[in-house]
Symmetry: C2
Subunit: 195 residues, 2 copies
DNA sequence: GCGTACGGAGTGAGTGCTCACTCCGTCAAG
DNA sequence: CTTGACGGAGTGAGCACTCACTCCGTACGC
């Protein structure tokens, strides 16, 4: 088995454990989960930190969600596009939420970290890529919108990754509700009280 | 010094360390920060876990923010109320964000945790209390709003605790921007293109 | 084809260290 | 003098990481 495959295999085995326990996971647990000897881990990773870094990168890898976002048809109306985007994004943030939060804990330090920079790592790049994909989804309707697509993308991502549980309405999913509020606001239309 | 005061004093000293390092913080660090002997910690806390629980409870303690929310005058217009609420909430979430995230890491286990329940602890209670305070802030305008105050409170909290950085507009703070979008929507008004 | 030497992936008991927790001497208050 | 809070060296458990060894696929000499 190539070193590359080994790394991926170990990361895949480690991810659920990291999600559950954060950096408190032990290398022997990971080895057991991967069905390999503990020493093998250190043959392909310099140390536990490098393994945790790889897990973090894998968890945050926006490739999947970016592909889904890119596949949304720009011919659909804006609200439909956003509902589709919200579904993809929600799955993505659910998937990574625990891993990121968990690893931030335990003071999982950067290798050459001077300690002062807040997030100099790949996290920002990943967030920026996601943000930009959403912005592009909004861009075609720029003329019809008051805030800039950048602003809306940011606000939208915040709404979607909401940790405060939203109960489903009667005829609408929470995500549809969010999109509707984002686009049309909370106030009833003053003049035309349509549907 | 009463045991009660001791606990509070230790928790106060531990909080910044926990925020920075998560559960990886050591008891000797905490003792040094508090200016006491390590043994003293264990005379008022059964073990490190109990101390971390206390830190978590203290960090999430919504008392301060609830008081601020309650002090907002219901005579102000809704948007002004929400901007004030957003400021208080933002400070609160900033304050607690790191501690919670950090402690979730490191697999800081619940005492009797069977492992399946997602958040059976005080976190939910704290979030519910905050949610309800925001709901009451919105309640007076219920008649003018399409979604229920419950839904809006939830969406609003999601927007405010947004981790995707929002750049300030020219004449508006990010929080004012959020409130405006929440209330009036992203679309330009179709008939009246006021202001 | 067959036997043998080689290299390198894989292993897991061992090592040293860190840390939560204990225990007892000290000291101040009553 | 007695009592009990306090500190901090001590202790044992558990961890990351190492290293001497095994095992197996490959290549080469015959």
């Amino acid at each position: 088995m190539s070193p590359e495959q080994r790394r991926e295999m170990i990361v895949a085995a480690a991810l659920p454990l990291v999600a559950e326990q954060g950096a408190a996971v032990t290398t022997s647990q990971i080895a057991r989960a991967a069905g390999i000897g503990e020493g093998t881990i250190f043959r392909v990773f310099a140390d536990k930190d490098e393994l945790l870094d790889a897990c973090m990168a894998e968890a945050m890898n926006p490739g999947h969600v970016l592909r889904e976002l890119a596949s949304i048809s720009l011919d659909d109306p804006l609200d439909a596009r956003l509902v589709q985007a919200a579904e993809a994004l929600r799955a993505h943030t659910d998937r990574i939420g625990t891993v990121i939060g968990a690893l931030h804990a335990s003071g999982h330090r950067r290798p050459r970290g001077n300690g002062d920079r807040p997030a100099p790592d790949g996290r920002r790049a990943s967030m920026d890529a996601t943000l930009d994909a959403v912005r592009e989804l909004i861009e075609p309707d720029r003329a019809a919108l008051r805030p800039s697509p950048e602003t809306l993308a940011s606000v939208f991502l915040g709404m979607v990754s909401n940790r405060y549980h939203l109960v489903a309405g009667e005829s609408r999913t929470p995500l549809e509700e969010i999109v509707d509020i984002l686009l049309h606001g909370a106030f009833k239309a003053p003049e035309n009280a349509a549907t």
